[in-house]
Amino acid sequence: MRMAKEVVFFESLFKANKWTWLFGWVFHAALLLVVLRHLRYFTEPVWFWVTWVQPYGMYAGFAMLAGLAALWVRRFAVERIRYISGPSDHLMLLLLIGIVATGLMMKYVVHTDIIALKAFVLGLIYFDWQPIPADAMLLIHLGLVFALMIVFPFSKLLHAPGVFFSPGRNQADNPREKRHLAPWAAALDAGRQKAGGK
């Protein structure tokens, strides 16, 4: 189905521009792995398939960073893309890069107390308040994630649900067989019956 190919493989973007597709797809695929990997901090016991994702998810962080960096370079290096990029386009990339960078820092440089963090998160879920490990890197990471969630419904991140609603991708090609009458358009039809053969 058109929609599945579009959502999983970014088919149209592949037709349009191979580099943008490569960077964009790597970023999104890595994002998916990383998000799935993070489920281990929210579930106890950890779901079995999340443990399978774990080794890939760890390296996906780097792929994500590389994809984002390449996408950002485009916004400066390609004249056409520079022209269409506004402050919010740059800030969005910066925000995502910040999230990934702090995440990788915690994993590989300044470890946070991940056991305590998980206790805190599970505590939230079961209404059993636990102390949160107070290292700067973790607080920045979480703060940026919250910022991302807050801007989601007011920003271009709406492309995520939008792709499922795009009429050019999800409508059936059957207009000769079926009338597709919007309610406001049906009201105009009523006029025809009355005017009758005018």
């Binding site: 149209s12 521009n17 269409i84 271009k156 939008g162 090609d173 207009p175």
Partner: protein, 501 residues
């Protein structure tokens, strides 16, 4: 002759560097108050145009899911930036689809989103100022609504829908385009785009009947207003006398004659075109479409067939049933409506036409997919029929056929440069520049395969190419109708005179 640069076509297509403001001087003539009022629009820019425009914008967002999704979904990935023929031909950055959309998206964000209201500088939100309105008028009339950009957009964002909405808003505040609005008025008043009255139409058709008889020795009829005929043919009015359109009309007549069906034209609905599509007005589109329904009812026909016209086929295939249906008084055994190419293709498949391919041996052909047929409709029963069927007809009628480069045909076809209500001399500069990508693709097959002619199934494409091809060093008659090829090749029963030149 022209006081602007004609893009070179001897080099392969390259993405131009940005030339800011390159096309900003070219706005189409404004509609006169009479043209506006005939369609129920204000005669001139209304006093509180800004508020009225935002009200209309809000109404359209409520009516059209497409517009709402397209306004929200763009991530500025840039996939579309090098896909528009007008950008490739002019280098004006506002002719990049995303930048064209942003002229409207700025206003959307400013008026309909929290971020645009609170931090407009951050998200590129702007009020609809007089300057921005002028940009709307200029650049939404440099879009031929061909939908090529939408093929490449990861979210399927269709600039055509956006420029239609922009034109609808502008019409409602009294800022309409002369070309489209005057023509729609003529359709209401006289019945066709060209303002050809009934007597002239009948006279023209009689002349064509004589021509065919002289050429072939066979009486082929071109009937008008025949009650009780099986088929109503609705075709663009350019088919009645423009070259090469008229040769296509002769082709349809010969096919109907050979098929032995009874058919008729209607002087009431003597026009397939529906320019209301271009101005994004559902109400006007419906009025124009209802003429066809009424003609079909009045004449008591069983089938409706459309002639070679791109956007007319889009409206016919995609919207006629919705606009003017249900057509329960027509014969359900045939597609409602049917394209003339589907009709001819069926006969070829059944082996009911005798076609002498050698009649077209003096030509080597290529085929230009018209944008509205390619990306706004279908033919036949399976996806891609709109690409296969016309080519199958050409192959059945000609020995020499080659396609142009793969990224310039089928769903990726380039617009001729004159679609979407731009086929007017006041926009000739952008028409000429916008034709460059197609001309380059043509030049390639001319050099590699000795192509002499390009066939098309759209009245606008044919007129546009006839006009701009000389600027690129091609003959104006190097563009032909698909049914002109059928007309050349078809051998009529009882034909006495060999018509091959």
């Amino acid at each position: 002759m022209a006081d602007y640069d004609i893009p070179s076509i001897t080099v392969p297509t390259e993405i131009p560097t940005l030339k800011r403001g390159a096309m900003e001087h070219l706005a189409p003539y404004a509609a006169a108050p009479a043209h506006q009022q005939a369609l129920g629009f204000p005669g001139e820019l209304v006093d509180d145009w800004q508020a009225k425009a935002i009200d209309k914008f809000s109404e359209l967002l409520g009516k059209s899911r497409a517009l709402q999704v397209y306004m929200d979904s763009c991530v500025k990935c840039g996939a579309c930036t090098d896909k528009c023929h007008y950008f490739l031909g002019s280098g004006d950055p506002k002719n990049m689809p995303v930048a064209r959309q942003d002229l409207m998206r700025k206003v959307y964000r400013r008026n309909f989103t929290w971020t645009g209201k609170l931090v407009p500088w951050l998200v590129g939100a702007e009020d609809l100022t007089e300057e921005l309105l002028d940009d709307w008028y200029t650049y939404f009339h440099q879009c031929s609504q061909c939908r090529r950009c939408s093929v490449y957009c990861p979210y399927g964002i269709d600039t055509a829908e956006i420029s239609m909405a922009a034109r609808e808003i502008m019409n409602h505040i009294g800022k309409g385009q002369k070309y489209c609005n005057e023509i729609i008025g003529k359709v209401h008043q006289i019945g066709n785009n060209l303002g050809l009255p009934e007597a002239a139409l009948i006279n023209t058709l009689e002349g064509l009947e004589e021509d065919i008889e002289e050429e072939t020795g066979v009486k082929v009829r071109l009937p008008v207003n025949v009650e009780g005929a099986d088929i109503l043919l609705v075709t663009p009015s350019a088919d009645f006398f423009a070259e090469p359109h008229v040769d296509g009309l002769i082709g349809y007549a010969k096919v109907f004659h050979q098929a032995g069906v009874s058919w008729t034209l209607s002087s009431y609905a003597s026009e397939a075109a529906n320019f209301a599509l271009f101005i994004g007005s559902y109400e006007q589109m419906k009025l124009v479409a209802e003429r066809i329904r009424k003609a079909a009812e009045d004449l008591g026909v069983k089938r409706i067939v459309f002639g070679e016209c791109g956007h007319a086929w889009r409206v016919a295939y995609s919207f006629l049933n919705t606009l003017a249906g249900p057509f329960d008084f027509l014969d359900p055994d045939y597609p409602i409506p049917q394209h003339i190419c589907e009709f001819t293709y069926d006969l070829i498949e059944k082996g009911e036409l005798t076609l002498d391919k050698s009649a077209n041996d003096h030509m080597t052909l290529t085929y230009h997919d018209s944008c509205n047929v390619a990306r706004g409709s279908r033919m036949g029963n399976s996806p891609g029929g709109q690409f296969e069927i016309p080519r199958a007809i050409i192959r059945a009628c000609c020995n020499n056929f080659v396609d142009m480069a793969a990224d310039t045909i089928n769903e990726k076809t380039f617009c001729c440069g004159g679609g979407g209500g731009l086929l007017t001399d006041d926009l000739l500069e952008i028409r000429t520049k916008g034709a460059a990508p197609r001309m380059r693709a043509l030049q390639e097959v001319v050099e590699e395969h000795g192509v002499t002619h390009m066939a098309a199934i759209c009245a606008i494409c044919k007129s546009q190419f006839g006009k701009v091809m000389p600027a690129y060093g091609f003959d104006m008659d190097a563009v032909v109708s698909v049914h002109q090829l059928v007309s050349n090749a078809i051998v009529l029963d009882g034909q006495t005179i060999d018509h091959a030149d």
